[in-house]
């Protein structure tokens, strides 16, 4: 019996690979699980094994060719007795050197990312006839549908439910979730119930809650961290704050610099400023930076439009203005629309480190935190510096680990040496 050897899942966001080397030649004998070909992507090189013992038959794709995930590479003629069909395996042999910094980021998020990336080749033969028909007809990915049938199987009802969910636009790229009905609240003891107070959520809070949940459910959201030495920026501010205020009639804070640094980094890593729409990525050549502000009613994120065209003073002015208006509850919906990236500063509340949540449909959010004097090492000496942890939460569907880490590192660089902002490096 002839077994197809296809290109396996290659990893997060990777849809094709190059055939680096055929380990076995057409006609060679192969053992079960023995590697027969080496594939190369810009992240990894991996070997593809034969699932069965036998003879390597026709080689379909030649060395040097680019092949897509799922494409046919070759066929193995099942041979010797005891050939057991092994489960499809991938053996990441080595990582291309240039993706070294990405490696650390890739490894930790891998278990989470695996759930979000394209699943291993779907074995449609496990689907019941009706399910198979529906899935084919509506071009659905069965792995994205919640299964409630016996033994974890998909039932027709499951697929119908997935089809009828309003958010299933191009169903392939959206992870359809069936909102499990929240179980009724357990009845508290009488003595506790007497000490409870039920208050309806404000409209604002309900909306915030829904949007936050929607962000979590659609994006493959991860957070990467870094820390920034604030000494230079604090010195800069100390030196120029009076002059700044006199000239521009607005106080000089740190936020403006972070906004400008973020914009520079966004220019360098456009994916962080982009948005996913179905199967398209929309890259934006403008920078509307949302700045999260806490109000008594909850968090609002007014957007500084075209912050990329603004001077530092104008940025600070805009931030200050939003702060005042937010306090007075005068932020309009228009103020909050159109953002491409968000910065949130939890430091004002004392947060040391956090994982900000994305502001949909944006793909990145920068978290700033409390500045705290910490012992750090500079030139092999332990010194005291005012440090701030930075967090970048990002949508891994379009932003690779490498980009996210590098983006954050650039912000760090520019904030640690603000002269870079002037120089544009």
């Amino acid at each position: 019996m002839s077994i197809d050897i296809n290109v396996p899942t290659l990893g997060e966001s990777v849809s094709d690979a190059t055939i680096a080397r055929w380990i076995k030649k057409a006609g060679d004998a192969v053992a079960a699980d023995e590697p027969i070909v080496e594939l190369e992507t810009d992240k990894v090189t991996l070997e593809v094994p034969s699932p069965v013992a036998g003879k390597l038959g026709e080689i379909i794709a030649a060395e040097g060719e680019t092949v897509e995930v799922g494409a046919l590479l070759a066929r193995v003629e099942e041979g010797a007795a005891g050939a057991k069909p092994a489960p499809k395996q991938q053996v990441p042999k080595q990582e291309a050197p240039k993706s070294a910094p990405a490696k650390a980021a890739d490894e930790t998020p891998a278990p989470v990312a695996a759930a979000a990336s394209a699943p291993a080749a779907i074995d449609n033969s496990d689907l019941s006839p009706a399910v198979r028909r529906l899935v084919d007809e509506h071009k659905l990915n069965p792995a994205n549908i919640v299964a409630t049938g016996v033994g974890g199987r998909l039932t027709k009802a499951d697929v119908l439910a997935a089809i009828n969910k309003p958010q299933a636009a191009p169903a392939q790229s959206v992870i359809t979730t069936v909102n499990a009905p929240t179980p009724p609240r357990a009845t508290p003891r009488a003595v506790d119930a007497a000490r409870e107070e039920r208050v309806r959520m404000s409209k604002l809070r309900q909306v915030i809650a829904t949007r936050l949940k929607a962000a979590q459910n659609s994006a493959a959201m991860l957070t990467t961290f870094n820390e920034v030495n604030m000494l230079s920026l604090m010195k800069l501010r100390a030196d120029y704050k009076d002059a700044f205020e006199a000239a521009h009639e607005v106080r000089l804070g740190f936020m403006g610099v972070f906004v400008q640094a973020a914009i520079q980094a966004l220019r360098e890593f456009p994916a962080v400023n982009a948005e996913i729409d179905g199967t398209d990525i929309i890259y934006k050549n403008y920078y509307n930076i949302g700045v999260a502000v806490g109000t008594p009613q909850g968090l609002v994120v007014p957007v500084i439009k075209d912050a990329g065209e603004m001077s530092l003073a104008d940025t600070e002015r805009a931030i200050s203005d939003f702060g005042l208006r937010a306090r007075d509850g005068k932020i309009a919906p228009d103020d909050m629309a159109g953002g491409t990236f968000t910065i949130s500063n939890g430091g004002v509340y004392g947060s040391m480190m956090s994982t900000p949540i994305l502001n949909p449909p944006q793909s990145g959010i920068l978290g700033m935190h409390k500045i705290e004097k910490r012992a750090v090492v500079i030139d092999d000496q332990i010194v005291i510096r005012p440090m701030m942890y930075l967090a970048l939460s990002y949508d891994h569907r379009i932003i690779d680990g490498r980009e996210a880490v590098s983006f954050l590192a650039r912000i760090k660089e520019m904030v640690e040496d603000p002269r870079r902002l002037l120089m544009g490096v």
């Binding site: 019941s128 006839p129 009706a130 028909r133 033994g151 039932t155 027709k156 009802a157 119908l160």
Partner: protein, 469 residues
């Protein structure tokens, strides 16, 4: 070498008992099974399922030969005579073979067989009060699988000669000229049709206004129409006040169910088939304090354990349909749970089969139950008259009905009346065990020409797109 101590003692070697014993042995338990009948297999093998199916088969062949059906196929016979003694002998031979088969299974699985009547004297203690294995026995666990007995009505005493239960009806020595069947459930109907085919005049008396209580009404109605054509007579909504056996036969007094004038009916044989009651007498249950249900069955929890620790009960003695296959499921689940594994019986998917001709098979919910529960369902029906195999076999009566959820298409009930219905329905049992939709069944390739194609067509009919009708 008689051992007196076991991991599990099962009282009763009927379908529940013997299957439970074999499963327990497979799971490594040291099992003993106590049976007071001299042959194994319980009611089912000895005086129930098997002899009745043997007689149904034999009588169906007789009717084919005697009624001219074979003549139409080009087989001419002279006059056809009934040798009832031989028919009964062949039935007994079949029963003997099968009860011997259980003996073999017990030996193969090293199950200790103890003969006699048992009493439970306390947790873990069983005493056999008579027979060659009389004595006291100990067991870590005890499982009661003693089955049930035919019930009667006030004013009627079963003598198994003129007024018979199913047991007597399976062994009549002479063909009755007239037989009255009291109770139009599946037992009465099956045995009634046996004797009707052999030449008796059969009248079925039923208290309710319909036959086959609990079954899908449309199916029951269809069967009654067919049975009447076969010569059975029915009196519905009729109560039997008394039945007296005399030298010349049986004299029954009947009235309309809601009251009214009495009437006397005479028959050679009266078959009492009004139901069965659990066989729990003599087990000492009251003495050790086993809790019973209001309807007289043994109360058990989800693990089939009674109110007394380590005493279990399954089958006809507990709630649920009194069916051999249900007892088998109970027993396996109970034993598996005793061995620390999960165990579960899906009582919604226990098929109900009536082995008349045509056969009836039902699975899941009837139309009445769904309507009453307010469930929105779709219905697909396909008659066997449009099924080529049924026609080729000369059995075109009946239909397949599939009920499915209107929203999700999940199959909720399947009801079949027709030739081999009891076999045909099992593809639906497997499908429903996986929560299949009607479309799943419709999109499964069915061999041609088979009776099961009617199931596929009924599934298509749920979606309004049957091909062959």
């Amino acid at each position: 070498m008689q051992n007196n101590s076991f991991d599990l003692i099962i009282i009763g070697a009927g379908p529940g008992g013997y299957v439970g014993a074999i499963r327990a042995s497979q799971l490594g338990m040291n099992v003993a099974c106590i049976e007071k009948r001299s042959t194994l297999g319980g009611t089912c093998l000895n005086v129930g399922c098997i002899p009745s199916k043997a007689l149904l088969n034999a009588s169906e062949h007789f009717a084919s030969a005697a009624s001219g059906t074979l003549g139409k196929l080009g087989i001419s016979l002279g006059s056809v005579a009934l040798d009832l003694k031989q028919m009964m002998q062949s039935k007994s031979d079949i029963v003997d073979t099968l009860t011997g088969g259980i003996d073999f299974l017990f030996k193969k699985n090293k199950i200790t067989l103890l003969e006699g009547s048992a009493t439970i004297t306390g947790a873990g203690s069983v005493t056999i009060v008579d027979g060659k294995d009389k004595g006291d026995y100990k067991a870590g666990k005890i499982m009661i699988a003693t089955g049930s007995h035919p019930s009667s009505l006030p004013g009627i005493t079963i003598d198994e000669k003129h007024i018979v239960s199913s047991t007597g009806a399976l062994s009549l020595e002479t063909l009755p000229k007239k037989m009255v069947v009291i109770g139009a459930g599946y037992i009465g109907l099956e045995l009634g049709t046996v004797w009707a085919r052999l030449g008796a005049e059969v009248e079925v008396i039923e208290f309710l206004p319909r036959i086959l209580p609990g079954m899908d009404a449309e199916i029951a109605k269809k069967f009654m129409t067919i049975a009447k054509k076969q010569g059975l007579k029915f009196r519905l909504s009729t109560a039997v006040k008394s039945a007296k056996a005399g030298k010349s036969g049986v004299s029954l007094t009947v009235t309309p169910a809601n009251g009214g004038d009495e009437e006397t009916i005479k028959a050679d044989i009266a078959l009492v088939s009004v139901g069965r009651h659990p066989a729990t007498d003599g087990l000492g249950l009251e003495k050790i304090g086993v809790t019973m249900t209001p309807r007289g069955r043994i109360a058990v929890d989800a693990r089939f354990e009674t109110s007394i620790e380590d005493i279990y009960a399954i089958g006809d003695v507990i709630d649920g349909p009194m069916l051999a296959h249900k007892a088998e499921e109970d027993a396996v689940a109970a034993v598996e749970m005793m061995a620390g594994k999960p165990g579960h019986v899906d009582y919604d998917l226990v098929p109900g089969i009536v082995y008349t001709a045509p056969e009836i098979a039902t699975l899941g919910k009837s139309e009445e139950v769904l309507t009453e529960a307010g469930v929105d369902f779709a219905k697909g029906v396909f008659p066997f008259s449009a099924n080529s195999r049924a026609r080729a076999q000369g059995h075109s009566d009946g239909f397949v009905k599939i009920l499915a959820c209107a929203k999700t298409d999940k199959v909720l009930g399947v009801h079949i009346i027709g030739h081999e219905a009891g076999t045909v329905i099992h593809e639906c049992a497997t499908a429903m065990a996986f929560g299949a939709s009607a479309e799943d069944i419709a999109r499964t390739c069915h061999g041609h020409p088979t009776l099961n194609e009617a199931v596929k067509e009924a599934a298509l009919a749920v979606d309004g797109r049957a091909i062959h009708i």
